[in-house]
Symmetry: D2
Subunit: 359 residues, 4 copies
């Protein structure tokens, strides 16, 4: 951490900062330039409650320093996350998911191959789910998505079938051999969802629901952590840090579009988040081009773009009859469209030396 | 709702839309212009589960229509919220809060006068809280703020004293006669926080924590609903709709800055949200210039700006010794600064024909 | 255009709107719903100065309507641009550029194949330019980029060699047979730049420099129109409309990243703009992953992502010695990195059924 | 400037950075911490072309350093602007404008008092302009605004009367004694506009039209520099630096709203920009609540908020008959509304110890 004093700050102010640092068990290294003085902070600035070896800046400290008289700015030098950071864990993390329909009995997310997760946005009826599941399995998906608990921007919208929906998902898994990924929205539902699902999904609006992150961190289940719609990559990795610090290593990041000024798309898919996250973190990262665009005709191009950029998996909404979808019909692919997309996705994966795990 | 067909859409596509509407108990009114056809949707597009008389567009319907072949765009005509809407509730809502230190024994938020709520960002120690409480009471605040449960972007940051913090807040209320406002972060804490606090605060990161909104909606307590850092005003009012629709009418909106590209401030305070919200909704709206700017020297100007724009209350962070604050020290006012701010705030309130309730 | 009245607007207000429309040679079609009245605007709302057959909403009209008493909102039904719109020009536009080093003597941008444009960000010295030009030509680029006039955020930054830079570009064209693309920043430079360059580039900060758009529109040269860093796709197509309406049909859109809250990248590359623009417009669209990310290690992934999403060309910064670049060194590829990228780009192009034109 | 190396960077990489600095006449001060090495850059990093005493970071240098192997990040310590910076010019700048209708014959912008500038968005007809001018003068405005050259997002919109409009403005000045402020859009118009106007306005879309900034900087006229709709305050002050560095000291900043995700307002007025700019710079700063909100009913509250936050002047659109305005009618106040606003504005100004100069 570096404390930048204002130009023309006086010696009293500088001494005050040094003393403050001392009181916190740190020391300051003065560098007096032509225009201004800069103070390098030395010593362990981490929080005492951290596992040994993990440093980092105590947020409160940075804040307080910034407020001291004469201080212009405090610049952070290290990243505020450690467990999620590639700097301290150079090897890629891979997450194993049990999948009955593939030869090995499991798929690896974050490994050499790309994984397709598909299914309806929401579990609406048994027939709808089974039809979608059968179709996506045929086309090459190995993990089934479907929402039982849906976040609805309006209190009057459909909120999902709840446990009934989870049961249908489990039935589909049994029937078609795909693993199941579904969203859990509140800590008190975590245990129940763990019984039915293979991967827990934390939705964009819950990326900073810290109680939920803690609760899920205390399980062993693979977790897909969706980026908050306005979360910086740093905040996203700090959210991952919550889960990791509770002991659950199986965290998968998911880019699903961010909020910008552009309204032609529901969100703006931040494809660069894929290579950026892979540079900063060792965690796998996947893409949701359905939420990420909000429009059916954009799902294909953004799927291919994600693969070309290095995504480890896709999470695509497919509905047997999107016209009748209770939610998000406009962004769901038809079964035919999904069938057409898979070989295109395969071709792009091959072009970058990867393959889709489909059996 | 209006369905705009693409230019050169064919009759088959138009008929398909009309049939779709029919299947949903609606009808379409065709308007065939030179360039394109536009279909007005008639009939009750609301969700059957709504209280009678409350219409509105079922989100799923709008989505599905948008995905139909030949459809360019679907334009919504009515607002998606009703209980929060001034169009259906023209009279201002006022929220009563019991406050022992004022003559009437209660203060009205959203009435003729402006209310000052102040205190430390976080309850750290008994001494810190009592010192701050005594000082802000003296200066004219009637409601004490202080966090017992703090959202921390990093898992290594200070998260608050929990119930112990609530007890200290209750003690301060007893001692100084101010009402207490504090944040509750998860549904399972709602009951406990209700025992100690007079106003429940829903934080920016929880504005779309729907389980939490529902739980709080089932209480009677006044609620301060902070705007999500990237929430549109419409999404904000829909979040209010969640609380209102559970039966709790005592909802107070709070502008606390939104996320933009500008980094000179921690958030960008959206002062225009005050008059905009008052136009669209009947709910009181207050301001948090501390979170809203992140910098101590900006709190004063943004307090005065909020008052001039019509805010019903301020929520200001004051710390006896900000240098030592465990969180957000850089944006906390010192006691002296708060003492200087109050008369300025009063002067601006008078200039627009209002007053601060201080005794 | 549709005028949405406020709920409970009165008949006087409705009549006022109808009369206003009448005064402007339009008529209104009343639709009185349960909650509110909606008025469809009929008749030609276009500007009299437009070429015959081109309608559209006069911006002033929409504005004025919105301000009438009782009006809640005005919804536009048609797009405000016509010449740029695919709805009225369904066939793709292709732009021919003379290129000596390919068999045909020209390349087509927006046709079946993808085009590589590469070179240094800025023309610094003859040696630097020739070295870069030779290298990128060898690797497969057919169009040379290089800035002679550079926009500099700071008045103290390097602003380019001016005409001397243009002369060096012309020399490189002569030597290596590539066409030249370079930025022109002000109307009075247009004629001069036309003498030296094959493609004129309008930079992101000049997307709404209307005088410049007009001037360039009066030439015949191919134009690359960079998206404003905060321009909606609609504003971007309206800027294209400026150029097109002056008679110059050779407009190529270029996505170069937009401004968002994320600071890990210099801009956020909006890959979805590629398929969105292709849906709304018939103009070719290309990508600049160098400006779009600001970081060398991201240029490769975003190049591949752009190709997978359907881009018609890339515009990549390559410097023989980025450490010594006068501008934007951090985002320039080395020659070796560019050599490694080309075959990867080819592979992804093949995967989607396209090829790079390289000879 | 501080170069932060990646964790585990090797000695070779560190030496490479030190050598690079040496080659540029700088030196590096190594600070090797537990996790990583940080290198403080010492020596004059400014551009040789600057007036003596003016340092600052050469943008190219920062960029190049960031691209060196092993470098994680480069942190800038000083501001990139000097002439605009309060750190080097602690006294407020005031700008004198000749105004015949006040006792002194001139008004000071940035001094003790607040100034009202008002008039129509665009000069449409002589009658419209004179009616508006007379009315705003009566109500207390001392400077008349009116556009002769209008930026129009659509090529089909009204672009202003050009020189004819300037002549009408000059006529109104002669008649009512107010100074005139009007926008100039391109360098070749600067001389002509200087003949007619007292204050030149640089519009939001031209904030980075560097040729225009240079040209205007070569005049002596007071300049109102509107913030780019997505410009950071730093970029804004760098644009001011362009004008200042050409010798024109009379630069006035104008906040007019920034682009955000919120669509309820045309732009989001950034009121905090007022105190932030006053902290970072010595230049006066004024507000445009008309462009800043886009809606008539918001202009009043945002005017009062701006005054309370410390604005030095307002720039308000007033039209005798907004229903018939050729542009921006929805945000123009009627004459009656402006008459009602002035006393409110006065009251708020008094509340913060200031006054409006009206005679």
């Amino acid at each position: 951490m570096i404390v930048v004093m204002k130009a023309h700050s006086n010696n009293e102010e500088i001494q005050h900062v040094l003393k403050f640092l001392q009181n916190h068990g740190l020391s300051g290294h003065l560098s007096q330039g032509v225009e201004r003085t800069v103070i390098g902070v030395l010593g362990q600035t981490g929080n005492a409650g951290l596992p040994s070896g993990i440093g980092g800046i105590t947020p409160g400290l940075e804040d307080s320093l910034e407020g001291l008289p004469g201080v212009d700015n405090v610049l952070r030098v290290s990243k505020p996350y450690k467990l999620a950071s590639r700097e301290f864990h150079p090897e890629n993390t891979t997450v194993e998911v049990p999948v009955a329909c593939v030869a090995d009995g499991s798929v690896t997310i974050g490994g050499k191959d790309v994984v397709m997760m598909a299914g309806p946005c929401t579990v609406e009826t048994e027939k709808q789910l089974m039809t979608a599941a059968e179709a996506v399995r045929k086309a090459g998906a190995v993990i089934l998505r479907g929402g039982a608990f849906k976040p609805s921007t309006s209190p009057y919208g459909f909120r999902g079938l709840g446990e009934k929906g989870l049961q249908l998902l489990a039935k589909a898994r049994h029937e078609f051999g795909m693993a199941v990924i579904t969203e859990v929205m509140t800590p008190s539902d975590v245990a129940m969802v763990c019984e039915y699902a293979d991967i827990l999904q934390i939705g964009t609006r819950n990326m900073q629901n810290y109680m939920l992150l803690d609760e899920i961190g205390r399980t062993n289940k693979p977790v897909v952590l969706k980026r908050g719609m306005s979360a910086t990559i740093e905040e996203w990795l700090l959210a991952a840090e919550y889960v990791l610090s509770q002991g659950n290593k199986n965290v998968i990041l998911c880019e699903r579009g961010i909020r910008t000024f552009e309204k032609a798309t529901r969100n703006t898919m931040d494809i660069s988040a894929i290579p950026v996250a892979k540079t900063l973190s060792h965690l796998p990262i996947i893409s949701d081009p359905s939420q990420g665009t909000g429009h059916r005709h954009l799902v294909g191009p953004m799927t291919l773009a994600s693969i070309a950029a290095g995504t480890d998996a896709l999470l695509i909404e497919v509905h047997p009859n999107p016209d009748e979808a209770l939610k998000d019909g406009a962004q769901s692919l038809t079964i035919q469209q999904f069938n057409e997309l898979m070989p295109q996705a395969q071709a792009v994966a091959h072009a970058i030396g990867r393959d889709f795990i489909t059996r």
